[in-house]
């Protein structure tokens, strides 16, 4: 049934995009190349989002905990790995072209090629990002996976865990600012590190929401009337989100490069047993049937000791 939906979604998307491109390429439209591309993007958007939702249903079928015979644990589902790869391709296309447009405008520098080509690549990247966002929304809806969200009553524990993952020079100011009691024992790390749950996932979610919503408003402005003030705010926030994504991307790479097994897991889906045992001791017990330390601590039991092999404040 899911496959049928995906095939139907793909067929509709292909037909829709072909019809829109046919209109744009017919020569009957009076618009410039840049404006024509803008129309192509906004008219194909429903098909792209629809296909994303259908593919998200397919991605959801790959969800579920798994342990390999050699003890390796599945950290990400194949669906998530696929969505992450698609999102990366989208950003590789959309981010440099967006930055070029912005800086070109600020510096009043014109590229040595027609500007509409830059916009065209930006729109293709934007379409890929929107497809991935729709797929992830559908995936999360279908699987009900909330493992990257912080549950009710868990914030204190997560802020404490994050404190121990921060470099010592900023740990004390951070603890003072957020009133985190550092005399408490370090909570054990589960499937995801505290940095991933407190900083990475929320910031990416906010930035993605901001860039997609403001981007759609900007792209739709020639199709539906958008008040000048709304367009000004959307344009400003779109640029702010772009800068935020550049900063977050640098931080994301800074964080994941030294944790190479986690980086590899985003392509293979697996984390080897030893790494999981050493760096994510709270996660390993969950797939084996027992309640994870994460849950036990959430139920009011005292926190365990620091994660083995991560003493000294680093989770590496």
């Amino acid at each position: 049934m899911t496959w049928l939906l995906v095939v139907a979604g793909l067929a509709l998307a292909v037909l829709g995009v072909m019809a829109v491109l046919g209109q744009a390429g017919s020569g009957a439209q009076p618009w410039s190349a840049s404006l024509s591309d803008n129309f192509v993007l906004i008219k194909t958007l429903p098909f792209i989002l629809g296909l994303g939702v259908a593919v998200g249903l397919l991605m959801a079928r790959t969800y579920g905990p798994k342990i390999r015979s050699d003890g390796a644990i599945r950290r990400w589902s194949p669906g998530t790995v696929f969505g992450h790869a698609v999102l990366t391709i989208g950003f590789v296309l959309a981010l440099p072209t967006g930055m070029w447009q912005y800086l070109g405008g600020i510096l009043d520098v014109h590229p040595p090629f027609p500007l509409y080509l830059l916009y065209r690549i930006h729109y293709i990247g934007a379409a890929i990002v929107l497809f991935a966002v729709a797929a992830f929304m559908s995936y999360l809806w279908m699987t009900g996976d909330r493992s990257l969200l912080i549950g009710r009553g868990q914030w204190g524990r997560h802020l404490l865990g994050l404190a121990y993952e921060l470099p010592p020079p900023i740990r004390a100011p951070y603890a003072k600012l957020l009133r985190v009691d550092l005399s408490q024992p370090r909570p054990t790390t589960g499937q995801f590190t505290f940095y991933e749950k407190v900083v990475e996932f929320p910031s990416w979610s906010i930035l993605l929401a901001l860039i997609t919503i403001t981007g759609i408003i900007k792209a739709a402005r020639y199709l539906v009337p958008v008040p000048g003030f709304v367009l000004f705010v959307a344009s400003t926030l779109h640029v702010a989100a772009m800068v935020g994504i550049v900063v977050k991307l640098l931080d994301h790479l800074r964080y994941t490069f030294p944790r190479w097994p986690l980086m590899a897991a985003m392509t293979t889906t697996w984390v080897n047993e030893r790494y999981a045992r050493l760096r994510h001791p709270g996660w390993q017990q969950a797939p084996q049937g027992g309640a994870s330390p994460e849950r036990r601590q959430g139920a009011g039991e005292p926190s365990g000791s620091g994660a083995p092999g991560v003493a000294g404040g680093s989770d590496r």
Binding site: M99, L103, G105, I106, L107, D108, E165, L166, P167, P168, Y195, A240, V243, V246, V247, L250, D251, L253, R254, Y255, F257, P258, G312, G313, S314, D315, R316
Partner: protein, 62 residues
């Protein structure tokens, strides 16, 4: 290096770009903040990359 180049353009534009000057102090401050953040995180990333290829003789912090 590309990120540092982007940061450089942000930072210099905050002071000399005519477009930003016309848009006002908020636009200039935004460029300044964006440039500082991009430069800062680009340096942190470069530091991590250097650490990755350096011999691991002591535990390091996140």
């Amino acid at each position: 290096m590309a990120n540092l180049a982007v940061a450089y353009f942000f930072l210099t534009s905050a002071f000399v770009a005519k477009t930003a000057a016309k848009e006002g102090i908020v636009a200039q401050l935004s460029l300044l903040l964006g440039g500082v953040l991009i430069a800062g995180f680009a340096i942190l990333l470069a530091r991590e990359c250097v650490r990755m290829f350096a011999p691991a003789d002591a535990p390091t912090e996140a």
